[in-house]
Symmetry: C2
Subunit: 570 residues, 2 copies
């Protein structure tokens, strides 16, 4: 592309609307423009990158034997009513009516649509397994759209849905998608970690997120600094601390009239909070659930919700319910004799000796409590992991970072196929619901995340695989006939090799051209200046040093970069 023919929309100033680097740079480089809050137009430069990311996604999905579909964005309400999500989805769903007053939504996701496709098109186990995907525009009316295309209301997503006849098939499909995602993010030059995620009441290792570390991420992600362990904070666990064995002593009730919280009781008794146990009471779907964790711990409510098969968000017990369950005022509840429908005991508590807990009597605590001897309950992991704990896999140190989700793989099982009566005839002649998985990649968000990971103070530093153009050829002075001639020849040579080259033939100062090239993140720059008298030009990688090379060596230098990036020239 000759830049004199190109609508160039680079901005020197940082737009006020942008908070994060990728958003600022996408605006400044002329990749996107805002149409409304969370709604963007893609300018040619942005669209070129978007198409490259899409193509990488498409190639890897095809390589994983998935088949590309394209569903409508408009979806009739009836499908969502079948699955029960028409009402459940809430304000995040854009809804509209047609001229006949029929209800539709703009698809925020397509489980219902693809379950419908499968029940219409797939009759027999012989047609399974099948994995259907699309790269399509999605709509979510976010409460707070932010950060450009990182959290927008109209965005492009790759969503895939697998259909299998049994659990083994689903496990295989899920693993294939995992591997494809690793490959996709690698090829995009994105350092994305696969993180075990909570998958609600279904339980098991049924869901993983691909997270990119980002200061502006929406989620806390737990990483081991030593091994590959990574998990969503809601799912993360830690290695239990070793506890020194003690002799179990007799329980002893002690008056603690002014000590309600863990800090107060530790101070009053002059013991570590690690020698106390905290009691929390929840009302979960009308049942009282008592949770016990070590005194210095926080309860992980998602884990509690899962263990309680909660239908939705959980809430703390009311003051009244607390008094009824514990028989005392707030601050004095404890494990011995509490009246709860379910008792959840963190595994760490099981290992403790002679700890202090509430006595279920106002003004009193009990010393030397021991699990098993003094009380029992359901043992499990109910605590929040904190920075500096030990990795459950290797024992290394755990760190917590903010992250952005760029992909999600999920074993759905029969949730949608049962609700929507989507069945096939199995080998035994019986009708069975499809075993489903779903797999998403935020394509536009991936593009923004690449910029978050690849930029400097001068602009974007695209990985070659997704760069809008590979090389910019810059004649320093377009009024110099010789420079223009050499630049043109180099440009034509690169184009003929299948390289996407830019020729900056604008009548601008070289400095302006360099700045635009750096801002747009073009990986290689060839500057054609006075040195052509010696048969030389300047070659510079976007993130490297300038070299003076022979004109005849340009094409090989460019080829080398393709080889280093494992990219084929077309």
């Amino acid at each position: 592309m000759k830049m004199s023919n190109m609508l160039i929309s680079t901005l020197r100033e940082v737009p006020a609307e942008a908070e994060i680097d990728s958003h600022k740079l996408m605006l400044r480089a002329g990749m996107i423009r805002k149409m409304a809050a969370g709604v963007y137009n893609y300018l040619p430069l942005g669209l070129k990158v978007l198409k490259k990311v899409e193509d990488i996604v498409r190639e890897e999905m095809n390589a994983a034997s998935a088949q590309e579909f394209l569903a409508s964005a408009i979806i009739p309400a009836e499908l969502w009513q079948e699955s029960g999500r028409w009402d459940a989805y809430g304000a995040e769903m854009f809804r509209l009516k047609d001229r006949g007053e029929r209800d539709f939504c703009l698809g925020p996701t397509h489980e219902e649509v693809f379950t419908d496709i499968a029940r219409n098109e797939i009759k027999s186990y012989k047609q399974l397994p099948v994995n259907l995907y699309q790269i399509q525009t999605k709509y979510r009316d976010e409460r707070r759209p932010r950060f450009g295309v990182m959290r927008s209301r109209e965005f492009i997503m790759k969503d895939a849905y697998s259909f299998d006849k049994n659990q083994e098939g689903l496990d295989l499909a899920y693993d294939k998608m995992h591997d494809a995602y690793v490959e996709i993010f690698n090829r995009c030059g994105l350092d994305a970690k696969c993180v075990a995620a909570d998958s609600g009441a279904i339980g098991g290792s049924n869901s993983a997120e691909f997270m990119v570390k980002s200061e502006v991420g929406e989620d806390d992600v737990v990483f081991c600094i030593q091994c590959d362990y990574a998990a969503n904070i809601e799912k993360a666990t830690s290695k239990l601390e070793e506890v020194e064995k003690e002799e179990r002593m007799e329980i002893e009730k002690i008056a603690t009239p002014n000590s309600r919280g863990i800090d107060e009781i530790s101070e009053f008794l002059n013991i570590s909070p690690k020698k106390t146990v905290k009691t929390l009471l929840y009302n979960i779907d009308g049942k009282i659930v008592a949770v016990f964790v070590r005194g210095d711990r926080e309860v992980n409510e998602v884990k509690v919700a899962n263990a309680s098969n909660a239908s939705g968000d959980i809430e703390m017990a009311s003051h009244e319910e607390y008094i009824h369950a514990a028989g005392c005022d707030i601050g004095f509840a404890g494990p011995i004799g509490i009246k709860a429908d379910l008792t959840l005991v963190d595994e760490e508590v099981k290992n403790m000796y002679n700890f202090v807990a509430g006595a279920n009597e106002t003004g009193y605590h009990i010393k030397n409590v021991n699990y098993g001897r003094d009380f029992e309950g359901t043992i499990g992991d109910f605590r929040k992991v904190i920075e500096g704990e030990k990795c459950p896999v290797c024992g290394g140190k755990i760190t917590i970072a903010r992250g952005t989700e760029v992909g999600h793989i999920f074993k759905l099982g029969t949730k949608y196929s049962e609700a929507m009566n989507a069945n096939f005839i199995d080998e035994d002649g019986k009708e069975k619901p499809f075993i489903m998985g779903c797999y998403g990649i935020g394509v536009t968000r991936t593009m923004a995340s690449i910029i978050e990971q690849h930029h400097d103070e001068n602009g974007i530093v695209w990985p070659l695989s997704v760069a809008p153009y590979h090389v910019s050829v810059i004649p320093v002075n377009v009024k110099d006939e010789e420079q223009t001639k050499v630049a043109n020849e180099l440009y034509e040579e690169l184009i003929s090799m299948g390289i996407e080259a830019l020729l900056d033939d604008r009548n601008e100062r070289a400095g302006v051209k360099f700045k635009d090239s750096e801002l747009m993140g073009i990986p290689m720059r060839v500057t054609v200046g006075k040195k052509i008298g010696d048969g030389e030009v300047e070659f510079k990688l976007r993130d490297g040093e300038m070299e003076v090379i022979k004109i005849g060596d340009v094409s090989n230098m460019v080829k080398d970069q393709f080889e280093k990036s494992n990219l084929k020239l077309r």
Copy 2:
């Protein structure tokens, strides 16, 4: 693609919902499925063709120096209010509100959006000319969606918008788009005629439609059977018949008490309707417009509306208005002495001698009326062209056929740039509105139109350029190891050449495989059967005879077809 891995959705029966061949075949071949009235999902086979049509459009648009954008489908109401179309667009526009109760629409077209982009990004004449396009999903809530993707409510369109500093620039941009469209439809194997179209009150040759002849088309198109002349019925004209010269006679009032219509008066006076003139009275924006055409003619109301600068649809004068203008009962109005705000006289009437017309007196007509001597008015073309008339260009015979519009090119001028204050600084330092053009192609409709023109009783007959797959390789008996081996080798050879091949490795009867291949319209078929004993296979073009050829000749036979179709192998 191996067909055993493919979700095949061919249907043997003709779906009841489909009325026209392309719709039936897209359903039967497994290209599309209906999601709601006028809303379709694309199955893999349909999507593959769609992408090929898109790629052809993209290549030709890029070759014409247009730059690809991607605008949002959601558009804020404010932009449409600026242009005045928010209210004007009516029920065809899908409207919705976001969670903050802000009004949006789903873009039915994008003039406003691209005018907004231009006014933000283009400041100077130096940046002009610019042509911006996108291939994007559009939404129109059609009153009567029909014929599958031919007239649907969610569809894919290529829309382009050109911005120029003057009329010459626009003329050039328009001509470039015309040429690109000719190339696009040619490459798609579509016989599309460029037809002069009415462009409303703007007048002039500012608009053309690319029409495909189709029995189910929505428009009447006038073609010359001898030359290239073609026009929308609303715009079409014809060569005037030669009239034998007569001596002008004195006018004569005659009593015609029972003869009101042209048929009655012709019969009563025993003359040809061609010797009479018909009077029609309209109320156009509150003014009375009298129109005179030869007695056997129909009035073309679009031409009348344009000549009257009508703001919208026009309507016949009321009975009262008729009496007031003509001073008589309906059936007796005529040109002499009629009280009208505007008098439009068809050019054919000007050439007539001694004709009969109403007397503007109930029960009377006048003989020997002559234009110029007895009345005057604005001369122009106000008649409807009919089958069998003479071509205005070459005098050949005119024929009228139904057609479907697949493309439209349109000189907008400053309609949107003035309404939306979209200006640039011209060479003289003055602010001027952009001179705009807009150019659309119905991509999904083009796909359906190709099928309308390329099918037979067994299915689709794809042109090679847009075929979902080029060749299907069919082993007759997959249980025969030798057949399977040869078929696999041929398949792999074709794939390695960059051919998109299908291997029908399903355990089905050969007849089933042939039927599917024909239904899906695969251009070439290689059948691997018992003749492999003699080193031979069968080669058949979709619309040709079967030939027995040597196994080693398959690749050359396939290459020949690419050459014949002017297609390059990748």
